[in-house]
């Protein structure tokens, strides 16, 4: 990829997960890299490389135009990550439009637009997914906004005669990753996670460095102009293996709960309404013996227990004792642990997890010469080493 040497390139989203790795690789190839950065505090990793940090906001057309000045290549990785779904959509779509306007004004040669395989709708029933599938709006805010952005990219490339290459990565994981790395880790550490259909669905996992390689190829390959490429890893794993590997890296065993697609939906859709406070408190105290014992050692706790015993009829007391199912010697036994909370799962993730489709990267291999080199084992091993280093395990 020596052809990137001295190429002036603007990267948006460069302080993010995929963008950060792209910046590193571009700098390593000798490109002259400028990064549009909204919050310099997040730039510690890319500041390790000789790159120009250009302060600015994707939602400000002027900032983007200024950043694109003099560039021949733009790699557009930025998306909206904050606020409501609507806020994010606005940043993703309007931001892309600003990038396209800036690209036209700066007369750039090529734009690599980093999109997502989610534009194809998530729960495709087919055994394989290729670029021949029809992208469609599904009501999932993230996927829909990325599809809208893709359409804008294609239209602008035609109108302003620059080459647009669209990359559609699948499930991207690796160091500094959020959605499929730190978020998964945090969920597993703080509770239990649903495995749809026992986790037999296909997880098209790809290690972040393979995605960065694909983006670099998309930026340089002669045959890439105007094309769209699905980008996935070399192995096909199941969601059970994917979550299972994280669970193992964390030294946990009991955090995955198998559910059918329908059960997962029903569970995740159930209203947030809670029971009455006293009922909820009584339930909690019945289950949490440690907490109950501690409360009963307080002065007013004892008075209250005494009062209850005096007021309640005998049969009610014995019924309560039975239901509490904890013998009176509870404090001498190891305390029963409260079951960990089960995290709800967004409908879009349930769909993705239920899908059997294996993403094909034949087109990227043929036209770009893309060869993913990080097997799932290797990628996860490196991710685990990063997790230990970052203190996440």
């Amino acid at each position: 990829m020596s052809s990137l040497s001295a190429v002036r390139v603007l990267v948006t989203g460069g302080s993010g997960f995929i963008g950060g790795r792209v910046v590193a690789r571009l700098a390593h190839c000798g490109a002259s890299v400028r990064v549009l950065v909204r919050d310099v505090r997040r730039a510690t990793q890319i500041a390790r490389y000789p790159v120009e940090l250009c302060r600015g906001d994707l939602t400000n057309a002027e900032d983007v135009a200024r950043a694109a000045e003099g560039c021949e290549l733009i790699v557009h990785c930025a998306i909206g990550t904050e606020g409501t779904d609507e806020d994010r959509r606005r940043v993703t779509v309007a931001g892309t439009e600003h990038v396209l306007a800036a690209a036209a004004r700066a007369r750039i040669k090529r734009l690599v637009h980093v999109s997502t395989a989610a534009v194809y709708g998530g729960n495709t029933p087919d055994a394989i997914l290729t670029e021949d599938a029809t992208p469609r709006y599904t009501g999932v805010p993230y996927a829909d906004s990325k599809l809208q952005a893709e359409k804008a990219v294609r239209a602008a490339a035609l109108a302003h005669r620059f080459e647009a290459v669209i990359c559609q990565p699948t499930i991207v994981y690796g160091p500094f990753g959020r959605t499929f790395t730190t978020n998964v880790v945090e969920q597993l550490k703080s509770g239990r996670v649903i495995l749809v259909n026992g986790g037999i669905g296909t997880c098209n996992a790809v290690y972040v460095d393979d995605v960065a390689t694909a983006i670099l190829l998309a930026a340089t390959s002669d045959r890439a102009a105007g094309e769209t490429f699905l980008i996935s890893g070399p192995d096909t794993v199941t969601w059970g293996e994917f979550y299972g590997r994280y669970q193992r890296l964390l030294g946990l065993t009991d955090r995955l709960v198998s559910m059918t697609e329908q059960e997962a939906r029903t569970f995740s859709d159930r209203p947030q309404r809670r029971r009455w406070f006293l009922v909820e408190a009584a339930r909690e105290l019945r289950q949490n013996t440690q907490c109950r014992d501690r409360l009963l050692t307080t002065a007013d706790g004892r008075v209250m227990a005494k009062a209850l015993r005096a007021v309640l009829p005998r049969f009610a007391i014995s019924a309560l004792k039975d239901r509490s199912s904890v013998p009176s010697t509870a404090h001498t036994r190891p305390a029963a642990t409260t079951p960990l909370p089960l995290h709800r799962m967004p409908a879009s993730r349930i769909n993705t997890m239920a899908s059997p489709s294996v993403v094909q990267t034949a087109k990227a291999e043929r036209l770009l010469g893309y060869r993913p080199v990080y097997s799932f084992d290797r990628g996860m091993q490196l991710t685990g080493e990063w997790m230990r280093w970052a203190g996440l395990d």
């Binding site: 990829m1 590193a24 690789r25 700098a27 390593h28 190839c29 919050d39 310099v40 505090r41 997040r42 730039a43 510690t44 990793q45 890319i46 500041a47 390790r48 490389y49 000789p50 790159v51 940090l53 690796g174 160091p175 460095d209 393979d210 390689t213 670099l216 010469g369 060869r371 080199v373 490196l382 991710t383 080493e385 990063w386 280093w389 970052a390 203190g391």
Partner: protein, 352 residues
């Protein structure tokens, strides 16, 4: 002092009139000046904030209005002649030039850490201060933290015996929105946090005789670094600094009579064990208040040094020590080799 203020204001109203008040300017109106130096100056009765130098016009006028500063300028040199002392809080790579010029004009200087980025600049600053008699104080305010002073005493008095090994680990996810952030000339985490941490290390354990230094910079500024040192005393130690992750922010010392672990940033909790007998001391107050207190103590010491014409608590000679080590580290840097961040892997892919 109250009498002085009252007296002066009846004779000639206006801030410059108090004959005992020290006229202080703040050079560089960035985050540290706004949050700590200016508030600390503003609350003192015997100080006049006589000037502010700041390039950014918005910041300059906002800070001047907020703190009632009569002379707000873009070039600090315009303030020379109307000030007695200055707090230098410009980006790291400008510390030396600005401080040196002020010292040569006989202006007392409290310069933010690191004192400079090169030893030769430190030497010039020390020489200039000596020749004009100006006070040169270095903003290593951690030296004013009680738990850290206790650690110094515990080591110096021999309470812990002979130090065998220490481990310093300080890191947090970077959140300092400084204008000069990531300027290559300013250095990375070593010049920034390292200035504080290596100062504590040299202050506590004495000079070091050998070291190895690894960091993760690749043509830019390092976010993480690791230093292994051997001290003159024979003690060995490691210093790990990070802008990318949360570390315990402690120094753990293993000595012949026991161990001591002290919080070196924010909460300064102290845990000690002497001949197998453990003791823990918990720091009070929240970190933000503590930070303000440190700047307050540092300023008080500086002003007292100016008034009594005595050396400040942290002199140029003391400040120079950590600069020397930082400079040596940068000169001998070797790349960190983390499995998930290896360039040779990329080369393999790029040659596909």
């Amino acid at each position: 002092m109250k009498d002085d203020v009252g007296l002066s204001s009846t004779i000639s109203p206006g801030p410059i009139a108090d004959p005992c008040a020290v006229r202080v300017a703040v050079i560089g109106g960035g985050a540290v000046a706004e949050r700590y130096h200016l508030p600390a100056l503003a609350e003192r009765a015997n100080v006049i904030i006589a000037g502010l130098a700041e390039l950014n016009e918005d910041r300059r006028s906002r800070l001047a209005a907020h703190f009632g500063i009569p002379h707000a300028v873009s070039d600090y040199r315009a303030l020379i002649g109307s000030i007695d002392a200055a707090i230098v809080a410009v980006p790291h790579h400008l510390h030396a030039a600005v401080a040196l010029n002020l010292l040569e004009h006989g202006i007392h200087v409290l310069v933010e850490k690191p004192m400079a980025l090169r030893v030769k600049d430190c030497d010039a600053m020390i020489a200039a201060a000596a020749s004009t008699g100006a006070v040169l104080a270095i903003g290593l305010m951690r030296r004013f933290v009680p738990a850290l002073q206790f650690t110094k005493r515990a080591l110096a008095s021999g309470l812990l015996g002979e130090v065998h090994h220490f481990e310093i680990r300080e890191g947090r996810i970077y959140d300092w929105n400084a204008v000069s952030a990531f300027d290559r000339e300013c250095g990375g985490v070593l010049a920034d946090i390292g200035a504080h941490v290596l100062d504590l290390m040299l202050w506590w354990f004495g000079d070091c005789v050998s070291w190895t230094y690894l960091d993760d910079a690749r043509g830019g500024v390092e976010a993480d670094c690791l230093i292994e040192v051997t001290m003159q005393s024979g003690a060995t130690g490691t210093v790990e600094l990070s802008r990318s992750r949360t570390l315990p922010n402690t120094c753990a010392i293993r000595a012949s009579r026991g161990t001591l672990t002290v919080g070196i940033k924010g909460r300064s909790d102290l845990r000690m064990e002497l001949h197998g007998c453990p003791l823990g001391l918990r720091a009070g107050a929240d970190a933000e208040l503590e930070a303000q207190d440190r700047f307050r103590l540092q300023l008080e010491d500086f002003l007292q040094a100016v008034r009594d014409a005595r050396p400040p608590a942290v002199t140029g000679v003391e400040g120079r020590r950590s600069v020397e080590l930082i400079e040596c580290c940068y000169e001998q840097r070797r790349p960190m080799n983390r499995t998930w961040d290896r360039i040779d892997e990329w080369v393999k892919q790029e040659s596909q």
